[in-house]
Symmetry: C2
Subunit: 316 residues, 2 copies
């Protein structure tokens, strides 16, 4: 059985330093932390997390809170969750999943990751007595990690123009939330740079709602049009209805989705889309939250990750 002394000897530091790395990592320099953590790993030393948690008045548990309806949960939550779990595992943290907002504070936890938050939820957050971070941009000053939504749609719109589509139409999600405004802004700004007039439709985030809007307006759409969609669900509906109307994809009509998890690959034809780095965002949310807990709740700021355009079969 490896002891704390063994770790101290291996890392060539005092036992006090090892103890500090375990219990108060924020009081130790990053270099020292790396050395000690490596020694702990090499010797397969795991401090008793329970005893350690008691010392720190911690539970070593955080909650993963999903405020969106679980029935409509996109598969990308799976990636977020596994990324988050990977981040937690590095510090031997465990999680509870909570889908009922009234249960957030039930039981014990050291902090919360909150996903799917909408404007109406913010009042509740101010009452939470534990540190939390959000998945998704917000303008209330809450710490968050998100994709850079505005840059994402700039990239998508510019790509459609580069592929010589003459008209670019945005099919957004019918929701008054910062991520949607940012996506629309990326589209609008890029069009304006090219002296083109934005044209935006907004629908609920379901493929059949996207089908309806395409069906309704199909006669108005001319050839050489590309649809920039705020989600892959919407893109799938747009593609399906264009096919049903007999339109040729990608020759006459282009479609670009958003998310890049699963749906883009199982659709036929496969979607050109903006791929969010979801697993990575999950990992970063975990490290942001654990850092915030270690620092007694001090602000961690915003992290916006750069997305990637994946070229597939729905654009020229």
């Amino acid at each position: 059985m490896t002891t704390l002394s063994d770790v101290a000897k291996e890392a060539n530091v005092s036992k006090m330093t090892v103890s500090r790395v375990i219990n108060h990592p924020e009081q130790v320099t990053p270099e020292l932390r790396v050395i000690v953590e490596k020694a702990m790993e090499d010797l397969n030393y795991h401090p008793n997390s329970i005893a350690q948690a008691l010392v720190n008045n911690r539970t070593n548990v955080v909650k993963f809170v999903t405020l969106e309806d679980i029935d409509t949960t996109e598969p990308y939550y799976m990636n977020l969750l596994f990324g988050f779990a990977r981040g937690l595992n590095t510090k031997q943290y465990a999680m509870q999943l909570v889908t009922d907002p009234t249960q957030i504070e039930k039981g014990y936890a050291d902090g919360y990751l909150i996903t799917g938050a909408r404007n109406k939820d913010y009042d509740m957050f101010d009452k939470l007595d534990k540190p939390f971070v959000l998945f998704g941009e917000n303008h209330r000053g809450y710490d968050f990690v998100d994709t850079d939504n505005q840059t994402a749609e700039k990239i998508a719109t510019q790509y459609a123009l580069d592929r010589l589509y003459k008209r670019i139409i945005f099919i957004g999600i019918d929701i008054k939330e910062p991520f949607e405004y940012s996506r629309e802004a990326g589209y609008i700004n890029t069009l304006q740079q090219h002296q083109l007039i934005p044209q935006i439709y907004r629908v609920p985030n379901h493929s059949h709602k996207a089908q309806e809007i395409i069906h309704e307006h199909f006669k108005e759409f001319k050839k050489d049009t590309c649809f920039i969609c705020a989600s892959d669900r919407i893109a799938v509906g747009v593609v399906r209805q264009l096919q049903d109307e007999g339109a040729r994809i990608p020759e006459d009509f282009g479609v670009i989705g958003f998310d890049g998890v699963f749906l883009d690959q199982v659709s036929n034809p496969k979607l050109t889309t903006i791929k969010q780095p979801i697993f990575k965002m999950g990992e970063m949310l975990a490290s942001m939250l654990l850092q915030k807990i270690a620092q007694s709740g001090s602000p961690q700021g915003e992290i916006m990750l750069k997305p990637e355009l994946i070229r597939r079969e729905t654009t020229r």
Copy 2:
């Protein structure tokens, strides 16, 4: 602040009984447990899980272990996970997600849920020093929860016959595992009851592999054939290739999938499929595992849940 005494008074039992329900539920009759737990809930009383865990030498953490490659993770794992989480939450348990088998015993946990186990993994299980349960049937005597795979394909095959398809072909997963054998057995037995000869193809669980096999043999397939597929992924590939060959679905060819999570609904046409009760299985796995932990690892047996046939657009 609610105390243990308040709970005892509310439930009309001694404080010792309340303490026993919290720390040694296996020593209390189910009736008494229900009464005390209801009182705890009514009074919003949450025993300090950390102190409680120390008393019991427990961590109040279990691990959700996924042995399948995370890249190929089907969306249904999300439902399993949330079901499992719901089950854990009732006892204020948290989880760690583990995708690297070498990390299973790293750190601390009271037990493990193991998913995606294959024959090659079983040797490892015998070395685990904590209670575990499996998601997925096995013939090694390990406790598990699964769908009743054999009954499922009996239902699917019988339904295809009832819809007057004359030839029923099984497209299985190319894997030597109990769940696949059970699915094939359900198909074979039903055909034999009707004096029909089974015809089975097996492919890796990818839609394009299913497309290849349909393309290769399409000329041999006569009208009035229904394909019973061992997964929705395979069914999606079968449908796609049949469409590419110009075949009419469901008039001339029927397709029935398996899983009933997400993929069946986003495909076009929507799949007739066998829907597994995944969320429910997750919940049952949690309660089986927590029960096993409370009973110091004693066997819990097998639970096979009945699946449901969902009739949609790929059968007459």
